[in-house]
């Protein structure tokens, strides 16, 4: 099931309607599509292109620029260990090394059971909990070697399923509500309001002089 499900297509169309130019929805739609299988496979990107009236190359061109959008398969859990300055000063590289040993893979690789991928991350803005990491963009820190081992066991056994969804699932809260009025109408109303205000200002000016 490489193409987008009917549900994802419906959500994608909803996203496209939120922007004055529907192309703006491309990155959010890539996130949605990625939630299906944990990565953006070529068929999914072609389907996105179809829906958005873009070429597949345009979709790939944008998607490949962004770190979070994966054009190759990854494990169910993407473990992103930060090694940037605050983490470096607090043992980030030692933690990364421990992660490689514990999972028996090197950075960039996925465990044979498809459960874990490790990456070396740039600062994840959790620097007061250094050394820290994200699993599927959920935060953990500070992480000692022992804490890392427990985390891996909890993830593997499913104990953290509620907190850490599979890779690709980002924002689980859907948009409710919205303006529900065509932008043109809002603009026309605002132009009228602008004019009224200018008239008021002109009247006030006339009064003063």
């Amino acid at each position: 099931m490489a193409r987008l499900t009917a549900e994802t297509v419906a959500q994608a169309r909803e996203l496209m309607s939120l922007y004055p130019d529907s192309r703006s929805a491309l990155v959010p739609i890539c996130h949605l599509a990625q939630a299906q299988e944990g990565w953006l496979n070529p068929e999914a990107m072609e389907h996105i292109a179809e829906i958005m009236e873009l070429t597949p190359a345009e979709v790939l061109g944008t998607a490949s620029f962004y770190e979070m959008l994966r054009t190759e398969p990854v494990g169910r859990y993407m473990v992103s260990v930060c090694t940037n300055i605050a983490c470096l000063l607090n043992g980030g590289y030692e933690l990364l090394e421990h992660a490689e040993e514990r999972l028996d893979i090197s950075v960039g690789a996925t465990t044979p059971d498809g459960m874990f991928t490790i990456e070396e991350a740039e600062c994840i803005a959790y620097c007061d909990r250094a050394p820290c990491l994200q699993v599927n963009h959920r935060f953990f820190g500070p992480v000692s070697d022992e804490r890392f081992d427990t985390l891996v066991e909890d993830l593997a056994s499913g104990r953290l399923d509620d907190d850490v969804p599979p890779h690709g699932v980002l924002c689980r809260v859907r948009r409710e509500g919205g303006l529900a009025v065509p932008a043109e109408q809002v603009r026309a109303e605002r132009a009228a309001a602008d004019q009224a205000r200018d008239e008021r200002a002109a009247a006030a000016q006339a009064e003063r002089s």
Binding site: L18, Y19, I85, A86, L89, I124, Y126, D128, R175, R190
Partner: protein, 434 residues
């Protein structure tokens, strides 16, 4: 210790565990600022922000009021809130987005009203999964409450606010890169001029881009008046500001402090703030305002947290992140990791940035690993000089955006402050800190 007892503005609510909910927000005065703003003329609201001299909290420190005044009269205007926060060691917006999303939304609405914008976007860094969920949840609550959308609180003013997730690119935080990203493209910064998106912004239309913390200050400013805000701090550094303290300190974290009234010494050593260098060690150096900033040594620790003062002393307050390094820190390694970040995050459009970062990264790594040569230091400074001629501060710019000229800072200042340590690496063929 000269710590001022000013009540917090952007972190006041955070002691409540449910600070992100509408219920708590309303119980603590939430959306009162918006109600008040809607009873004023838009120009009056802008005037209060002008009077506050609120400096943008995104890094460049440009006055928000002045930026808004550049939004020339046009049929379409957009507001984009920058919550991309990817600057290393900066973690203040992350806190606000997760813990007080309604304050950002309320500030966004106030800014939208002041600038008569009917379409606003809140751009949140993609890696902030919880932040995205909290922000979307808060937006849903705000719509249901009548605070966003059509005819807000019966005022006749309507605005739509869309939450837009990023997807992992530091350069998408640069405002023109942000706009490209929001248009569904690669986050390539745009060639300047025009210098401000206020002239040509999103979809080519006049656009205001402001940081999330800048927005979070607006409800307070409308409620208490711009002059009350300007009464805090000193000189052009008004109000309070979030400082993100990390590295070798006992108590890392975000601290909201009155600007210019507190020194780096207070921030790092006061028992209620940083609590001192960890493990009883000595302070070796600190970065005063994000990894693009020149480093400071212990002799500059009594400088106040003021944009002007830090600028005059040859660095910047930038994004408000302070990184502390103790006496056991290998500065070569620290500088290397910073330049590696820039190398990974350069968008690749400009040769000095793309190639320069790569070269510097290689040479510093070679020194750190013990195979450096004595000429390497001159080579490094030469490459840095090619990126930013003169190696001065503020830096000369030869590139499309200021990521390029940010690359040399850590290298140049590390070499200037700790040349001996670089030489020890080279002569002994190893890192003395192991």
């Amino acid at each position: 210790m000269a710590l001022t007892e000013v009540a917090p503005i952007v972190t006041a609510r955070l002691r409540h565990p449910d600070s992100h909910t509408l219920e708590r927000y309303l119980a603590t005065g939430g959306y009162d600022g918006l109600r008040r703003a809607l009873r004023m003329e838009p120009e009056q609201v802008a005037e209060e922000v002008n009077a506050a001299s609120l400096l943008g909290r995104g890094g460049a420190g440009f006055p928000a009021g002045r930026k808004w005044s550049m939004l020339r009269k046009a049929p379409v205007r957009y507001l984009v809130v920058n919550g991309d926060e990817s600057e290393p060691a900066t973690f203040k917006d992350h806190l606000l987005i997760e813990r007080d999303p309604h304050a950002i939304i309320e500030g966004t609405l106030i800014a939208a009203y002041a600038n008569q914008v009917t379409q606003a976007f809140i751009f949140v860094r993609g890696e902030f999964a919880l932040g995205l969920e909290r922000m979307q949840g808060a937006l849903n609550e705000a719509y249901a409450h009548g605070a966003v959308g059509r005819d807000i609180f019966g005022s006749g003013f309507s605005v739509d606010v869309v939450l837009h997730p990023g997807a992992g690119a530091y350069i998408a935080g640069e405002e023109t890169g942000l706009l490209e990203s929001l248009e569904g493209k690669r986050a390539f910064p745009r060639i300047k001029p025009p210098y401000f998106p206020a002239a040509i912004g999103l979809y080519g239309e006049p656009t205001v881009v402001n940081n999330t913390e800048t927005m979070a200050n607006l409800p307070w400013i409308v409620q208490h008046g711009g002059h009350a805000f300007a009464a805090l701090g000193q000189g052009s550094s008004t109000g309070t500001r979030l400082f993100a303290l990390s590295g070798h300190v006992r108590r890392p974290g975000n601290y909201e402090l009155e600007m210019a009234k507190t020194t780096f010494r207070d921030l790092i050593f006061a028992p209620v703030l940083g609590g001192g260098v960890r493990g009883g060690r000595q302070l070796k150096a600190f970065i005063p305002g994000g990894v693009s900033a020149p480093w400071f040594g212990p002799d500059q620790i009594d400088l106040p947290l003021s944009q002007d003062e830090v600028g005059k002393a040859g660095s910047m307050l930038g994004s408000g992140s302070v990184v502390v390094m103790d006496d056991q820190t290998c500065v070569v390694r620290a500088a290397w990791r910073i330049v590696r970040f820039f190398y990974r995050e350069s968008c690749g459009q400009c040769t000095p940035c793309r190639e320069g970062a790569g070269w510097i990264e290689k040479v510093v790594r070679r020194i750190e690993e013990g195979s450096g040569r004595e000429q390497d230091l001159d080579l490094l400074l030469d490459v840095c000089d090619n990126i930013s001629p003169g190696l001065s501060w503020p830096p000369q710019q030869t590139t499309i955006c200021v990521l390029g000229p940010s690359i040399p800072s850590s290298i140049v200042w590390a070499i200037r402050m700790f040349r001996d340590e670089f030489l020890v690496h080279i002569k002994e063929g190893a890192c003395p800190y192991g």
